[in-house]
């Protein structure tokens, strides 16, 4: 039977919220709801940082054999506009979400030609069900040059190979 794979967003504890058929919204609070509460604000000077979002694959139906080559990538172009960015890093285990600078890498440098290795720490092959691979930690950055308004969603892709 083919595997069923979900995207989970990890919050205050290492227990995720299923975001399959849902979205991930950057906020000024450590919570997973998609609404207009806890919006990010444009600073008068410098840069503000959202609470981090940590995403991980969750397998609910096991593959026949295993999953390998877990990857994530953006479309390579920042469509959020001037002063708005997203930075990332990866880790093999959950750590508390923060709203301070994680000094990560620009997400939009990770495209389909140079994807993020999502099982560099928790290496595959991945068998069975449950959380698999590493956590992708994302943080939105808002500079004082940003313009106010609601942003259009960007594309983020998770890919896996199943055997």
């Amino acid at each position: 039977m083919a595997a069923t794979v979900q995207i989970h967003e990890m919050t205050a504890s290492d227990t995720g919220t299923d975001k399959t058929d849902g979205t991930v919204r950057f906020k000024s609070a450590d919570e997973t709801s998609v609404d207009t509460n806890n919006r990010l604000t444009i600073p008068t000077s410098g840069t503000d940082y959202s609470y981090t979002k940590q995403l991980q694959l969750n397998v609910t139906v096991a593959p026949d054999t295993d999953l390998q080559d877990l990857e994530a990538y953006s479309d390579g172009g920042n469509g959020f506009g001037t002063g708005v960015g997203v930075q990332y890093d990866t880790d093999g285990s959950f750590s508390a979400n923060v709203d301070t600078d994680i000094s990560g890498t620009d997400l939009f440098t990770a495209d389909s030609g140079s994807p993020i290795d999502m099982d560099a720490t928790n290496t595959g092959p991945h068998t069975g069900t449950g959380y698999q691979g590493d956590l992708l930690r994302l943080q939105m950055t808002i500079a004082d040059t940003a313009e106010q308004g609601t942003l259009t969603a960007e594309t983020l892709t998770f890919a896996y190979t199943e055997t």
């Binding site: 083919a2 595997a3 069923t4 058929d21 979205t23 694959l57 983020l156 892709t157 890919a159 199943e162």
Partner: protein, 110 residues
């Protein structure tokens, strides 16, 4: 139908045995040298099957699926490609029936 179930693999060996996914053997348990034909068989009449005939200079290597979960408006499994690999090529089929034949080291990213 879920995208990962649109096609299923089928392997025929030189002794006339036909093996299918969810059957009595995983493809890894079949001797590659004995594979005469590897196929991707659609579960819908509107798609066509893909047959790869193997030989001593185009030997069966394996099957794999490639899932792509994308967030645009919602995180969804937006594509699930399946691939039959021989030592000379990779034959890919997308869930809509599109077929690609590539170098065996080609990696598909959508």
């Amino acid at each position: 139908m879920d995208l990962q179930d649109v096609y299923t693999w089928e392997i025929e060996t030189v002794d006339g045995q036909v093996y299918q996914r969810d059957g009595k053997k995983r493809w890894q348990e079949i001797e590659p040298e004995t594979v005469l034909r590897a196929s991707l068989v659609p579960q819908s009449d509107t798609l066509q099957r893909i047959d790869v005939f193997c030989s001593s200079d185009n030997r069966f290597v394996g099957w794999f699926g490639k899932g792509f979960l994308k967030q645009v408006n919602n995180f969804q499994l937006s594509e699930y490609a399946q691939c039959l690999e021989t030592d000379g090529q990779r034959v890919w089929v997308l869930s809509g029936g599109q077929v690609m034949i590539t170098h065996p080291e080609f990696e598909l990213r959508l």
